[in-house]
């Protein structure tokens, strides 16, 4: 029997992996991919709660999260393209244009 706790443990591990990717990777594109991974962990939580608590709200919020992830990917990748065109770098520690 699969309970809610099983899903929560899986999504905790996924979220931690995404956060770890954001923290330790140097490539901006892979940092964005890790953000997608974290959003997916949140989605898994939402849908699991929606199933076990008998409510459709979680699934609708999950749809909204997918739409927000699409917009975030589009704008984030546009920013990467602009930065790469200006100075040939996709490392997050070389992008310090706005550092005071």
């Amino acid at each position: 029997m699969i309970t809610l706790t099983h899903y929560l443990v899986v999504s905790t591990i996924l979220f931690a992996l995404g956060l770890l990717g954001v923290l330790i990777r140097r490539n901006f594109i892979i940092v964005l991919m890790s953000v997608e991974m974290m959003l997916n962990a949140a989605n898994l939580n939402l849908v699991a709660f929606s199933y076990y608590l008998h409510s459709l709200t979680g699934q609708i919020v999950a749809l909204f999260v997918i739409a927000i992830a699409a917009g975030e990917a589009a704008v984030g990748l546009a920013i990467i393209v602009v930065i790469f065109r200006g100075k040939i770098a996709t490392n997050v520690d070389q992008i310090n244009l706005l550092k005071w």
Binding site: I2, M37, L53, L56, G71, A74, V75, G86, T90
Partner: protein, 207 residues
């Protein structure tokens, strides 16, 4: 049967998540991420959410990942010597501690929520997609419209950001060359070209 599927999806999801953050080449990371997203869609089917699963496959695996792969191939990145930050071992150990703490909290919590009215039998009787549609277009109509506005803003923002700055200039030059015979067409084409060229120079010098 669903227990077997659950453990299969969990194992593949976690393994491909680890591979996503450890592969060296960005393309390989993208492929590992596709695997992860497709298996998350499998979880959604186990949870009676087949519409979300379809949206996950179409939007994530079909659109977002293709966008990522396009950008990776467009930029023609070379694989670096050092893919991690310098002190990644410290950060990893710290994260392991935090995750252990969260896992203990998750395992101990009772989740005493009030169950809603949409029991699985009721949803299956109506059809999950239909039930979602009815709820979304009655109770959640305003958030739905706001998401549409957000997507429009994201599209315009992405186009404005990624627009090539010299594009107007080059187009004006192309128009100038064949129009060299007629004097007034030439003057009309040269004027904006000069303006945009000066604007670009200023921007680049500032940067």
């Amino acid at each position: 049967m669903s227990v077997v599927f659950f453990y299969y999806f969990a194992a593949v999801t976690i393994i491909s998540g680890v591979l996503t953050i450890t592969f060296r080449s960005p393309v390989h990371c993208g492929v590992a991420l596709v695997t992860l997203l497709l298996h998350i869609a499998g979880f959604f089917i186990l949870l009676n959410a087949e519409f979300i699963a379809a949206v996950q496959v179409i939007v994530y695996a079909g659109a977002i990942l293709v966008l990522y792969l396009f950008v990776i191939m467009l930029l023609n990145l070379k694989t670096e010597e050092r893919v991690f930050h310098r002190r990644y071992a410290v950060v990893s150990l710290l994260m392991l501690g935090i995750v252990g703490q969260v896992a203990v909290l998750v395992l101990r919590s009772p989740y005493a929520g009030v169950p809603g009215t949409a029991t699985p039998e009721l949803v299956l009787a109506v059809g999950q997609t239909r039930a979602i549609g009815i709820t979304m277009f009655s109770d959640y109509l305003l958030p739905f419209e706001l998401i549409g506005l957000y997507l429009l803003a994201a599209i315009i923002g992405a186009i404005v950001l990624a627009k090539t700055p010299g594009m107007q200039e080059r187009k004006a030059q192309l128009e100038t060359v064949p129009a060299g015979a007629s004097p007034d067409g030439n003057a009309a084409a040269v004027e904006p070209a000069g303006v945009t060229a000066r604007g670009d120079e200023g921007g680049r010098g500032h940067r």
